[in-house]
């Protein structure tokens, strides 16, 4: 009996070992290092110098615009993704012919096989002067500028993060019990109220998962604003890159990184709460 328990515990430890080691080495240790950096000082030539001060945190308002831009961009980008993704997921899960479904799903996932950097670069050329504007000039619209505009950034975000939104919604819609839809219709509900009262409501966990997934990734986004926005709009991600690579103020960069992590955790908890409340008793654990 006892040896069984022991063996069981040993097995558990063995099975959990790699994942725990992974978490400790790649998540906990860097986080600790960043936390230590964040209470230090910038060395005279840049970098980090040991100290204990909260001055970096007191300086956070100096990046208020970056925080504000990010706090607007992340939910707006996630919302834009949601608006585009929901109909796609709905079609895939409930309307698409069975034999097409796998192919259509693959089409959603395939772009993920190449790096976002490459795909965003491609958009630079499509939106740049030799791409769509050249076509527009051909039909008479001269000097149209698409690249380096807020619209280009939003397009890049929707394009880049769409699959992350489609897949969780698809999964929650796919699991939907069709008999509930029939029941709703039998009881006299219109298609619209069936959609709002049954389909949408039951897919909310997927929506919240997709929304928070995209939102958390967007909180750290810097590539798309740089490439498609021309580096004119500063996000937290851009502030971090600049602080580590340009002004080499590692302690300040670390303080911002820690703050960003805390904000992400708050977002996750809030998403959890909202999701739980909206979908009744069905709890979605995101963290």
């Amino acid at each position: 009996m006892r040896s069984n328990v022991l063996r069981h515990n040993l097995l558990t430890a063995l099975l959990l070992g790699p994942a725990t080691a992974w978490l400790v080495i790649f998540l906990v240790l860097p986080f600790v290092a960043i936390a230590v950096f964040s209470v230090g000082e910038r060395a005279p030539e840049g970098g980090y110098q040991a100290a204990f001060t909260l001055a970096q945190y007191a300086n956070l308002p100096a990046r208020a615009t970056a925080f504000w831009n990010t706090m607007v961009l992340a939910p707006a980008g996630a919302l834009a993704c949601l608006v585009v993704a929901y109909p796609v997921a709905y079609y895939l899960a409930l309307r698409a012919p069975e034999r097409w479904r796998l192919i259509l799903l693959a089409l959603v996932v395939i772009p993920f096989w190449t790096s976002l950097l490459m795909r965003t670069y491609a958009w630079m050329y499509v939106l740049g002067g030799r791409g769509i504007p050249a076509l527009l000039a051909y039909v008479g619209f001269e000097d149209v500028r698409l690249i380096n505009t807020p619209g280009a950034v939003l397009l890049g975000i929707v394009y880049g993060y769409l699959p992350l939104m489609i897949l969780p919604i698809y999964v929650s819609l796919e699991r939907l019990d069709r008999r509930l839809l029939e029941a709703s219709a039998d009881l006299g509900a219109t298609p619209v109220s069936t959609f709002l009262g049954v389909t949408l409501r039951l897919s909310l966990p997927g929506v919240m998962t997709g929304f928070s997934l995209v939102m958390i990734l967007l909180l750290g986004e810097y590539l798309i604003p740089t490439l498609l926005g021309g580096g004119k709009v500063f996000f937290i991600g851009n502030a971090l890159v600049d602080l580590f690579l340009q002004s080499r103020n590692w302690p300040f960069g670390s303080a911002i990184a820690i703050t960003l992590v805390l904000v992400s955790v708050v977002v996750l908890i809030a998403a959890n709460r909202i999701s739980t409340r909206l979908s009744g008793a069905r709890r979605v654990d995101l963290i």
Partner: protein, 387 residues
Amino acid sequence: MSKSYRDGLPINPEKFVDQLMRLKRGSIGRREFLGLTGLGIATAVMARELGIMPSPAFAQEGLGDRMSIATWPNYHDPATFENFQAETGVAVEVNVFGSNEEMLAKLQAGASGWSLFVPTNYTISTYKKLDIIEALDMAKLANFDGSQQDARFTSEGTIDGVTYAVPKNWGTTGFAVNTSKLAKPMTNWKEFWDTAMAEGDGRTMVHDYQLTTIGNALKYFGFSFNSLKQDELAKAEELLLKVKPHLFAVSSDYQPSMRAGDAWMTMCWTNDGAQLHRDIPEIAYVLGKEGGEIWTDFYAIPKDAPNKPAGYALLNYLMDPKVAVKEHLANGAPSTDARVNALLPKEVMDNPILYPAADLLTPLEFGAAATLTDPGRAELMARFKSA
């Protein structure tokens, strides 16, 4: 993974004995550790994917088969590295950077993996102070001839009589204008900034680089390019914030936008200006007559270079005037070496983009080390970008 690039290097007798003694003492080696933990296979697979595993059959003795150089975009004739590999068996991996600060950050963090890199004049004293670059062993650079170098451009490579870096080329920072879009002739920085807010609205680019963007904003008021004075920087910031909404982009990678016609005017370095003008003649290169920046790029070897023999070999190869002349034709920046100038075609030496008239050169300033490391200017740039 952090030191795996060393695996590609031939082991020397000292290291061999050192390893043997460690084995004898029974202290566990890295490989044994990796082997036991299973990380070894992962490292080996990754190393092969990344191309850092040796293929010793092609390696010239003592040089290893692979090295890495950190440099700037559009800066070399790609054939140079192919020819070097054909001659020595050493493949050169080229890492491209956008600013000296990024290079410094990478070197400061350690284990950059570079065996040669291309710092600009004002960074060298900082590198020396931080003790991260090598005092060059000139005996290994037979192709370098100091007497043929123009000292005006090359003095910052030598500190207290010790050579830490040898010059690649020099150049200026001006601006490029697409004259088919902006026909009004311009000759100074005041016109650059004013045009950015008028005819060039939404079509002007400035560098994502505090040194030049702040420096050239200072020139609007006639202040020094290197100014660290609070009141002068405040005026520059005011100008930058006023211009910001009119800009097309804040980016140091301006060639694609200029070539595509999205941007009509940009801050520009000599070599990019020469390349743009060569391919699109209506793009002109302008030096502000009130001054601005002059610079020299050097070659230097990091202290922790993983493959110093190959670093020296490539540096020596690049110092051969016959090789350097091809580099200059491809890259477009002027040479500091009289032997190279003698080999360059007449039309290159007569090109005013590359070799501007003396009255344009005289007011230009070399960037100062303090300008690069000043935290105040870094914050100003961040405020400008985040505005």
